[in-house]
């Protein structure tokens, strides 16, 4: 089915914020969301009363039945549009699309999008990992000891089988993102990481060791969407939405059509088409990186290289800041932060910052167009976002 509508250049992200990432034992899950929202509002130079829409995701740590309403109440908002979306790690991107649709057709003026949880201190490592087994099918995956690392490990092994991707190439993804995290003042991981450390780490699910898996954080992020016209009068340099696309092919890995070609192919194609750009036009990419295999498949499925070449792109340094296509410039979910839907949202925050162009040592020089890919479940739900600092 072909759709003809467009959101290109109709809305802008005018404020971004993230909470103090890492461990926040004195704060609640709603509290860290509020901290991110307050920072996004200050960044935009807007008032609380300007917000008329609120979109959020989900929380394992504080599983409110109506998280959108609970967060709205906590923030003292009285929005005329509010919901909580549960499409896994793709929730923030999909929330951006819904926010943009509402603003573009005049059904909302200023929409706040936020997501995150205090998984590190509110749930803890063991309970967080246990809770995530619920992503597997209750009858046909969970009774077999299925786990999220295990499902992604099967993708990695299939990728190695089909394309010859190596263990060292997987490790280079973790090293790439750690190097970037060291340049970010709010990243959780603050010590260098070597290929040797990744390869010798304790095994989780083969081929993955500990450093092939995302970290567990107290983390939340927020951004504010308004019309492109209104954005010009606000404090921060606006970052415009150029293109956005979604795709959903399956929920459970046993129903995935392929372990190496996922919905990112179609979500990316839709985003490029709306933005009227291609992979060669992208200056910086913030790709989902729950495990080291994920952004390798991302690079390939989003057209940055041929299938099977993603591992080599990381290993050769093309994905470093200063390289051909810097990837996960904030340190990604492997080293910056990850807690539920926060990981994908913080990729959007980082893309906005890169396009503003004031990020010091981790600035991608001359960045004008950024791509963000959010993914939920077991490569199940996909949203690709293309942002630009010029309406073109």
């Amino acid at each position: 089915m072909a759709v003809s509508g467009t959101l290109k250049n109709k809305v802008a992200i005018v404020g971004v914020g993230e909470c103090d990432i890492g461990k926040a034992p004195t704060m609640s899950g709603l509290g860290i969301n509020a901290q991110a929202c307050k920072r996004a509002l200050e960044d935009a130079g807007l008032r609380v009363s300007d917000i008329d829409g609120l979109l959020t995701a989900y929380s394992f740590t504080e599983p409110y039945t109506m998280l959108g309403s609970a967060l709205s109440e906590y923030l003292g908002l009285k929005p005329q549009m509010c919901t909580a979306m549960a499409v896994g790690g793709a929730s923030p991107g999909i929330a951006l699309r819904h926010a943009a649709q509402a603003v573009a057709c005049g059904l909302a003026d200023t929409v706040l999008v936020c997501a995150g949880e205090n998984r590190a201190t509110g749930l803890g490592r063991e309970a967080s990992i246990a809770a995530l087994t619920a992503v597997g099918h209750a009858q046909f995956e969970q009774p077999y000891g299925g786990s999220i690392p295990g499902y992604y490990a099967m993708m990695a092994r299939r990728h190695m089988h089909e394309f010859g991707t190596t263990r060292e190439q997987l490790a280079s993804v973790a090293v790439n993102t750690r190097a970037h995290a060291l340049l970010h003042p709010n990243a959780q991981m603050k010590t260098p990481l070597s290929i040797e450390q990744v390869l010798s780490a304790k095994l989780i699910a083969e081929p993955f060791g500990m450093y092939d898996c995302c970290i567990i954080s107290d983390a939340a992020g927020a951004f504010i969407v308004t019309s492109a016209e209104r954005a010009r009068d606000l404090r921060s340099k606006p970052v415009y939405l150029l293109g956005i696309g979604e795709k959903h092919l399956n929920m459970h890995i046993m129903c995935a059509p392929s372990l190496t070609q996922c919905g990112a192919v179609d979500s990316g194609r839709a985003a490029y088409q709306m933005a009227e750009v291609g992979p060669d036009d992208i200056d910086v990419a913030e790709l989902y990186d729950c495990f080291t295999i994920t952004p390798i498949i991302g690079l390939e499925n989003l057209g940055f290289c041929q299938p099977g070449e993603g591992g080599a792109m990381f290993a050769s340094g093309q994905t470093r800041i200063g390289g051909k296509l810097p990837v996960n410039t904030h340190g990604g979910m492997l080293s910056h932060a990850h807690a539920g839907a926060a990981g994908g949202l913080l990729g959007i925050v980082e893309a906005v910052r890169q396009l503003r162009g004031d990020q010091g040592d981790r600035q991608v020089q001359g960045a004008e167009i950024a791509l963000v890919h959010n993914e939920g479940g077991i490569l199940s739900s996909h949203c690709t976002i293309i942002l630009g600092n010029d309406r073109g």
Binding site: A127, Q139, E141, Y144, S147, G150, I204, E206
Partner: protein, 143 residues
Amino acid sequence: MTGYGLKETELPKPSPNGDSLPYWNAAREKRLLIRLCKACGAKHFLPRYLCPVCWSDQLDWIESKGQGTIHSSSIVHRASLPSFASQTPYVIALIDLDEGPRMFANIIGSDSLAASIGDRVRVVFEDRAGDMLPQFSRVVGDT
């Protein structure tokens, strides 16, 4: 927070629902069932009310021969749930049944850790406190 399976020590048993009860009843008789759409002929594994291809609600259960090929697998060294901790290292795998549909299971047996993509496997049934869980073991010399 409590819950999330952290206090469970026994391996989980499947909990059938209206879609899957015939599947699990057949498993108790050591038979592996899949669904066949009488309208379009599509076969699928995940039990549903309707055919995911054509939406016909005229479905049959057919018995799989229980033979297939490993599409991918992993050796799990760190269990996500305490109830599986005593099982590590264990093998999870996606199995392409010869009839077409793909399913998820463990590879069990003394040579399970040697499982690799393309290996031929055959269904075996694991007794889990009275319920039977379809599992697979490698068919040696038939790759």
